[in-house]
Amino acid sequence: LGTKFYLCDKALFEMKIVKLLLPFFTLSLVIFLNHSWNMGKHIPPFGKFLDPFGGFWRNGESERKDFSRLLPGLKGEVKVQYDSVLIPHIEAANDDDLYFAQGFITAQDRLWQMEFQVLAGAGRLSEIAGKKALDHDRAQRRLGIVFGARNALHGMEQDTTCKKVLDAYTAGVNAYVKQLAEKDFPVEYKLLDYKPEPWTNLKTLILLKVMAQGLNMDDKDLAMTKALKLWGADMVDFLYPDWEDVPEPIVDNPDGWKFEAVNKNDTVALALPDDFVPLPLHPKPPPCNGSNNWAVSGKKTASGSPVLCNDPHLNLTLPSVWYIIHLHAPQINVMGSSLPGAPGVVIGFNDSLAWGVTNAQRDLCDYYKIKFKDNSRNEYWSDGAWKKTVKVLEKFRVRRDDVFTDTVVYTHHGPIAYDSNFHHGKKENLAFRWISHDASREILAFYKLNRARSLDACFEALQFYEAPAQNFAFASVSGDIAMHIQGKFPARRKYEGKFLLDGTKTSQEWRYFIPPEHAIGCKNPSRGFVSSANQYPCNISYPYYITADYYTTYSGRRINQRLREMNDITPEDMMRLQNDNFNLKASECLPLWLTMLDSASFSADEKVAYKKLKSWDFYDDVDSEGATFFEEWWDEAIPLIWDEMEAESIDFPTDYQTIKWIKENPTLIFFDNKKTPETETAPMILKRAFAAAAAKMSVIKDKWRWADYKDTFIGHLLQGLPAFSYHVQHGGNRQIINATKHTHGPSWRTVVSLEKEVRAWGAYPGGQSGNPGSPYYNTFLKDWANGKYAQLQFYGDGKHAVPQPLQTITLKPKL
């Protein structure tokens, strides 16, 4: 045998090596295909992902079949009927089962989105996205999102109703997660290769804080502090007035306000900061919020019943921010838009009334400059004594990397959001105070609002609503309409909240809150309608100081102008108004601007541009070319005018003021562009911008149509992953009623006619299913873009059926 071995030739030997290596190769192959990798970009676990038995193929939705499921935690049977557009109608015998079922069904359609938004809010994205998300995560944790969520949860769990609702919803989500096999995970989990976690009440609260962050965290305190140092208090007052003297506030109260401010006798002077804040300010997008709501009384409608309309403007993403749902149980029969991850209906109607919200805009966050005893930051100076800080060690389990730890220091104001550890080595320590850090009970407010049968019941419900402050519009079947601005507002002294505050004196803090009886609101005004569009809330005589990041100045006036003109209003008229593309801003400035040009010396391109603008009807419609030329001109002019602000990362003065000064004060010093030797006036700048715009337009001839130029994009939450996202052709622009921008706009449009049998319509740029493999992923997208609506299949208390349900799911208690 030894000789046999000796005689074996080279080929045989090599064969043996191959045989030995083959199993190792196979093993490595399987391991490679079972893991996700980061090779510059994310590589999914190919084997797991492509396997048709457990991978993405299984996420392709096929025919929906009725089923029933036994679930522990339920008390009685719950019937869920999906209608033809996949809106669930939930019938339960009690509150617990109702919210349990809402949690279960929402998770069934939107689980990945719910959890992803919470991870993003809580600063945990790096756990799935790796190191590139670490900066985002650190910033989130320094803003105290989870800190605020814990405080809010603590407040809510004191209340038995809140606790019951939150617990039931969480149990429902978890009942879904628990029965979910890995092969049925939403496709995004498979792509990114991670697993859903159990849901908690805290996660619901984090989700609400994420919404609050988008609504009441915008602020320009640091920019204004910088501006104050650069240009002085008078110039800041001139450039950034708190009140812009624009007609049509939300509530005009010509009879004045019959009360005095609670802080009227507050004598503590507020010192203006003399700090120069050389912090790198976060780049901010131009102001783009511009939600609308209005309610029209029966006097102005064709049916004689009030109509309520609402379109909240948010980032347009997929899966959509809203999930439409109908909740039906004893004492409750409500339908409308819910936030995936939170129980109840946020914007909706029942058989007695309807309500809608826009953001109140008011400044509800401040920065305090903190003086620490030493570099250990264990103690800080406050009212002549050293107070102890609380240090929170934040851990980041960064994917494919070491655990990163970061200390966030908390003062009694809130967390230190800016410090030398994070914002690029600057020495300032700025504590962040945010209204949404406080305990609150908005879940209870919506619980009561969903069940309200009269406007009085609505106002009672709103007493439990603290943040984010909203303009609530109401209309009822009994014929009432109302507007109420609700939130927890600090009663501020002049300038408080506009600039960086001194953190060493408690006298600089929020000392009073505006009492509920001083809130701004009105009921059944003689003009026959109420409306809001994020504009200034009231007339100047209101006894409290009001400041904000910004207030809108155009869409609200356009809404009121149209509503005043309209009579015999039908729901279809209201839908058209929600899709109104009239550019009031352009109509107020363009005619004058065109006269400032010198048509004799036009180049060929300028002649074209002039012609397009001259013949434009001021509508930002899909096919409009004038809208594109105007936008391009505007975008060229503004940075040339406000070059001083751009150089310092300071917010630009508002468009309204800019237009006013071009007209009334064309030699204002700021019109001079610092980069050029000559001293410019407004017409010179506009001419230069016009030439630049005309030249640019001549090279983008394929983008002259407004919809092509604007390119409305509904991006998937994973950074707009192209495979799961859509470009749509849609008109509108910021400051227009149809405030659809590139990636931001009406996230839900709804019209409710409060006839005896309430009728309602709605559309949003997406679909009820969050699954890109479902035909219901983009159900409403096309209709939304075309200004069309789906009628919502609401039914009153007597009836219990959806005509031709797409699918019926029965949830039964497992004993």
Partner: protein, 115 residues
């Protein structure tokens, strides 16, 4: 003929295994099949059955979904999703099956050399 029999057998066992177990159990099934088949070439070709199984399963799901999802996934992947699915199945199945045969041969040779 034998190859056809082996292929069908492997595909069937893989199908049943994959209904309940993670995807890599299919590789284990192929490996054991190869162990039984013994011949390297035959084993490799028979192992490709995993690819065919994946092809049929993916086609069924895709048909029921009207290719709604696969069209989107195609944009995500470097190549057509169905093609990649079949190639991955073939590669894993073939390699695992051939590995089984190779290990069986090595064991046989080792036993022989000990005798």
């Amino acid at each position: 003929m034998k190859i056809v029999f082996y292929s069908i057998a492997i595909a069937l066992v893989c199908f049943v295994a994959q209904l309940f177990l993670p995807w890599w159990y299919a590789a284990l099934v192929c490996f054991m099949g190869g162990f039984f088949i013994k011949r390297l070439g035959t084993a490799f070709v028979s192992g490709l059955a995993l690819g065919w199984l994946w092809l049929i399963a993916a086609l069924c799901l895709d048909h029921a979904n009207h290719s709604l999802l696969s069209q989107k996934i195609n944009l995500l992947l470097p190549a057509n999703a169905l093609l990649l699915t079949v190639l991955t199945g073939c590669l894993v199945g073939g390699a695992a099956c051939a590995s089984g045969a190779a290990v069986k041969q090595l064991i046989t040779q080792w036993r022989l050399s000990k005798d």
